[in-house]
């Protein structure tokens, strides 16, 4: 079941993964079982995904992340919101992030 993502929610990176930057590329390495489907699964993100990942710090709300992205990327509010909630849902499903708190 997909969790509904509210704009006041705060997320932190999970201890089940380790984020690495290799040659300018964000690589997320699963640490515990079940994050990837295979033992040698890795995850990478595109530029937008990397920007969102970098803002998921256990402090910023979804609203603040959307606002930060609006300054960085030329895109409409609706598109950015959809991207942020989409990626947060995906990362939650894969246990790469955890809900830290709601402000």
């Amino acid at each position: 079941m997909t969790k509904s993502i509210g704009t006041d929610m705060v997320f932190a990176r999970s201890n089940d993964v380790v984020a690495r930057e290799i040659d300018g590329m964000l690589i997320i390495v699963p640490l515990t079982a079940g994050v990837g489907d295979m033992e040698d699964d890795l995850f990478s993100m595109n530029e937008t995904g990397t920007a969102i990942w970098n803002m998921i710090d256990g402090k910023k709300t979804i609203k603040e992340i959307i606002s930060g992205l609006k300054e960085e990327f030329i895109a409409g509010q609706g598109e950015i919101t959809k991207d942020v909630t989409g990626i947060v849902e995906e990362l939650l499903k894969r246990r790469m992030i955890v809900e830290a708190a709601s402000s």
Partner: protein, 373 residues
């Protein structure tokens, strides 16, 4: 904004593998955590007894390994192969494994499986390894223990492998083709293929000892199969046979070599991987043991070893006419075990022609040709 924000990468397809040629990133390393082993295999190039005081004294500590791994991670390393000796002999193996995984490294473990316990099973279930590779020396007690020289080892191996497989831990199984187990090799292959996760492979090429122990080298030579026996077992195995034939298809050297090119290292050593031995020495490749190609990580950093030392060590040139006239221009090079590292282990010089390698390469070419040698 693009829709595909997160993507999966399977390691074999990893985009960085394609980029490394330009950037020379050390993406993987072999970490030899001990030279000690619970078995005493006749063919082994490294094993020392479990209680060997010198090996114990010289082994990298957990703290030293942590510092080396940190440096590797900062240089871009993604994958570490824990090897030995037998890694599970280390009392701190579980801590060591978790430490490497926690740094964001994919970890493979090479083991004989004899020392696997429920604790290892729990560890591998919680923090999956990239893979576990186990060597199967025989599938009868008599053969297995003839190779390992260790009474009771076959029962321990069977127990260890059953624990892993019944616990849902997938393993890759491999074999060494030896004088002592050649009669059982087809049965070993069958056993392995029924249980292995991805592949089965066997290796008939035995390195001589890293420590140069001549008494042990005699035993290794005695375990070597003749070139004709090697080609016979390769031909008898369809998978192996197809792989060797494929190599035969690219035997000719396509680019003319410059007469002035007398570089010794024409291989990929030091391009994107390295090895660290149990005593903290850096090697551009795991078999390369010549003193001029070793860098002590207890005295200097991995960055120095990788960026300064390795290019210097591997720029070595040779004036050996025998090497230049026989090996460097040989079209059978990719069927041959010859390389500077193996030549050093075999003959004590990195640029020396080695009769056994040469005879084996020619036997393989004759068996699998057509080749213009």
């Amino acid at each position: 904004m693009r829709k595909e924000l997160v993507s999966f990468i399977r390691l074999p397809d990893f985009a960085l593998w394609k980029k490394i040629g330009d950037n020379r990133i050390p993406l993987s390393f072999d970490l030899e955590v001990t030279a000690r082993c619970n078995n005493n295999c006749r063919h082994c190039y490294i094993n020392l007894p479990p209680g060997n005081k010198r090996a114990l004294r010289d082994e990298l500590t957990l703290d030293e390994i942590s510092k080396i791994a940190d440096q590797a991670v900062s240089l871009g390393t993604l994958w570490c192969v824990i090897t030995g000796g037998e890694p599970l002999l280390r009392k701190d193996f579980i801590e060591l494994y978790r430490l490497l995984r926690s740094k964001g490294l994919l970890v493979s473990v090479f083991t004989n499986a004899c020392l696997i316990t429920d604790k290892h099973l729990d560890l591998f279930k919680k923090y999956p390894p990239r893979d576990i590779e186990i060597t199967v020396y025989g599938i009868t007690r008599k053969t297995y223990e003839k190779v390992t020289g260790t009474p009771g080892s076959y029962a321990r191996f069977q127990r260890g492998i059953a624990l892993l497989l019944e616990g849902g831990i997938k393993v890759n199984l491999k074999a060494m083709a030896l004088r002592s187990n050649a009669h059982e090799l087809p049965a070993i292959a069958d056993y392995c293929r029924k249980r292995t996760r991805d592949f089965f492979r066997f290796d008939p090429f035995l390195n001589l000892r890293f420590d140069g122990n001549e008494e042990r080298n005699e035993k290794i030579r005695a375990e070597r199969l003749s070139p004709e026996e090697i080609t016979a077992i390769e031909r008898a195995d369809p998978e192996r046979s197809a792989a060797v034939k494929k190599r035969c298809g690219t035997l000719e050297i396509s680019t003319p070599l410059r007469r002035s090119d007398n570089r010794l290292f024409q291989c990929s050593a030091g391009d994107n991987s390295f090895a660290v031995s149990y005593n903290g020495l850096f090697h551009p490749c795991s078999s390369l043991r010549h003193r001029d190609c070793l860098f002590d990580l207890r005295s200097g950093s991995l960055s120095e070893a990788w960026f300064d030392f390795t290019p210097r060590a591997l720029s070595r040139k040779t004036t050996s006419r025998e090497y230049i006239e026989k090996c460097r221009i040989c079209p059978l090079m990719n069927l041959c075990q010859w390389c500077p590292a193996h030549a050093y282990l075999e003959c004590g010089r990195m640029d020396e022609w080695c009769e056994y390698f040469c005879r084996t390469a020619h036997a393989r070419a004759s068996a699998f040709g057509p080749v213009s040698a």
